[in-house]
């Protein structure tokens, strides 16, 4: 990768990144590409190697094999140029319990040789205000709740203007209100032009804030791309409830739609490229088998000739054919479906 073109610049790039602990390969040949300016969701079950990867990105742990470049510079060799431009929350917040929140931030800011001493107090106050902790600034961290510590951890990442934010499980321990605040904070950071790299196992969270995502499973990167690509957005499904199943199937066949799992609870479920759904169909980059979430590989000849099927046209065709339509729904393929397909059912989907 060359850092020449700003538009194609990658904020984070890893090539064949691996980490071995004894006999265990914690991270196995990961090629991560995080575009500049994206909000990148880093997904995976617990123990899939997310945090180990993040530690290597930040130069905390050395790679067994492969290389990392962050903001166009090799890590960890050029950490002193890279890290001042990176704000990070790694594996939960950690602070000196015997110091106040503000004193903790001043301490960590003093560790950055590029942070100006003269503006330290002002920047600490601003960061505390940004995460809503101004009222607790003078309180010892020992007395903070988990959510408050989490906010303080995010404030630490925001002490200086950053080009890249690496947030490992940023909403862990936060109440719903705090989760919302973090989401809008991430959006505002992205709106200011920063790249935000968020690791999470909360799919709903990633679906709401991310533009791109990657999925880790057992140390390997099993998928990465834009969110619509990952979601298999083109594969919308139609769920029809009707007593005239035979007739309806004929209509669907004429429209070039393929059945998904046949009948379920008296409803027909069909898959098709549905128009007006707001997202173009795309192909996700797949590094592992198990690509289709719904197993709706179209049989020969059942693919629409071209273009999308508009949902209202489907209904019109059904009614014209005399099908009694009792229920009709267009369902988007969800990230969760994709996710479970990639990482297996055992995944901890704590929504």
């Amino acid at each position: 990768m060359t850092a020449a073109g700003r538009g194609t610049e990658l904020a984070i790039e890893t090539r064949g990144l691996s980490k071995r602990f004894g006999h265990q390969l914690a991270v196995d040949g990961v090629n991560l590409s995080v575009p500049s300016g994206s909000v990148f969701g880093f997904l995976g079950p617990n123990g899939s190697g997310k945090t180990t990867t993040i530690r290597m990105l930040l130069g905390l742990a050395g790679a067994t094999e492969g290389s990392v470049s962050v903001l166009g510079l090799e890590m960890p060799d050029r950490f002193h140029e890279v890290l001042p431009r990176v704000g990070a929350l790694v594996e939960g917040p950690a602070f000196y319990p015997f110091l106040s929140g503000a004193a903790n931030l001043r301490r960590l800011d003093a560790a950055d040789p590029y942070a100006a001493t003269s503006t330290r107090r002002a920047r600490v106050e601003a960061a505390l205000e940004r995460v809503g902790l101004s009222h607790a600034a003078g309180k010892k961290v020992r007395a903070y709740s988990l959510g408050m510590k989490q906010r303080l951890g995010i404030a630490n990442a925001l002490l200086s203007p950053r080009e890249l934010l690496v947030l490992d499980e940023p909403t862990n321990g936060l109440d719903p209100q705090g989760t919302r605040e973090v989401r809008s904070l991430v959006r505002s950071l992205a709106a200011d032009g920063a790249t935000v790299f968020v690791s999470s196992h909360l799919l709903a969270e990633v679906e709401q804030i991310c533009t791109h995502a990657a999925v880790m499973s057992a140390g390997r990167l099993v998928a990465q791309g834009t969110l619509p690509e990952l979601r298999d957005a083109g594969k919308a499904r139609i769920r029809l409830v009707t007593p005239d199943a035979g007739l309806a199937e004929g209509v669907f066949a004429r429209l070039g739609m393929t059945p998904v799992g046949g009948r379920s609870n008296g409803a027909l479920v069909y898959s098709a490229s549905v128009g007006e759904a707001g997202v173009p169909a795309g192909t996700a980059a797949r590094a592992a088998p198990g690509g289709h979430a719904d197993g709706a590989a179209p049989p020969d000849g059942a693919e629409p000739a071209g273009g999308d099927v508009v949902p209202e046209a489907v209904v019109a065709a059904l009614v014209a054919a005399g099908v009694r339509v009792r229920g009709f729904a267009v369902e988007q393929g969800s990230l969760e479906d994709r996710f479970v397909a990639l990482t297996g059912e055992g995944f901890d989907i704590a929504q």
Partner: protein
Amino acid sequence: MPSREVPDREVPNRALPIREVAGTDGAADVGTAEPPSDRSSSGWPLLASELAVLFRRRRTWAMMLALAAVPVLMAIAVRASSAVPPGRGPAFLDRITQNGLFVGVTAMLVCVPLFLPLTVGVVAGDTIAGEAGLGTLRYLLVAPAGRVRLLLVKYAGAAGFCIVAPLVVALAGAGIGAALFPVGPVTLLSGDVITPEEAVVRLVLVAAYLTVSLLGLSAVGLFLSTLTDVPVGAMAATIVISVVSQVLGELPQLEWLHPWLFSHYWFGFADLLRQPIAWDAFGDNALLQAGYIAVFGALAYGRFVTKDILS
């Protein structure tokens, strides 16, 4: 919880001082591949922060109070009892009733084998392992403190404690001695007599000697601290090593080893209480401690620079 304080996506809060302070818009920073080296400062702010954290800790205060308690208890005990028979108890103890300034010297002598190494072991063993135990080590390194810089600052912090701890004993001793006993001209080991003011200078010199004595142990503690994420382990190991060194120093069978033990010159400060001052022991001690700093500093560097921070 003040959700309103978090700016919404559509209206990024441009009024936040965080960007005014930096003087740049966040967006303007994207794509600047230039290293911010022009703004780089030295390690002084971090050292100041390290010393502030160390000396504001309740644990540090507790240890210094315990050290100060040694001369106080000693002086009160001597004052309460009628007379100390000469030749019993620590050296100089019988002189205290004649001159209060001797409390300082006697207390330092008492603290050398255990109390001072104990407190220094706690501070030096805590340097890296304490940060790892709290999890703050990863944030310091991501800040980025830089591993070498952090190691140097941590050692400097421990050395700061080595300066303060003997001084606490000396000054608390001189203070309580002056309060409970008469203060007058002091007779040195060489038989010469110096004024009380000069005697205080000698007390500070002895404290400085002990500071130098403890620097080698601090380097050992720093190295042990890079080996573990459990601060108590590193502290205990450091203290055990200081005891082992002194025990080995007592064994005549290991005569050949004695000059290499970091505790070899720990009691050699008597020469500072002569007129003129004999600096030989001070110089030998400094050289020995410098050797320990070089060896264990290099070991700590070798370990810490390549260490995976997984705490």
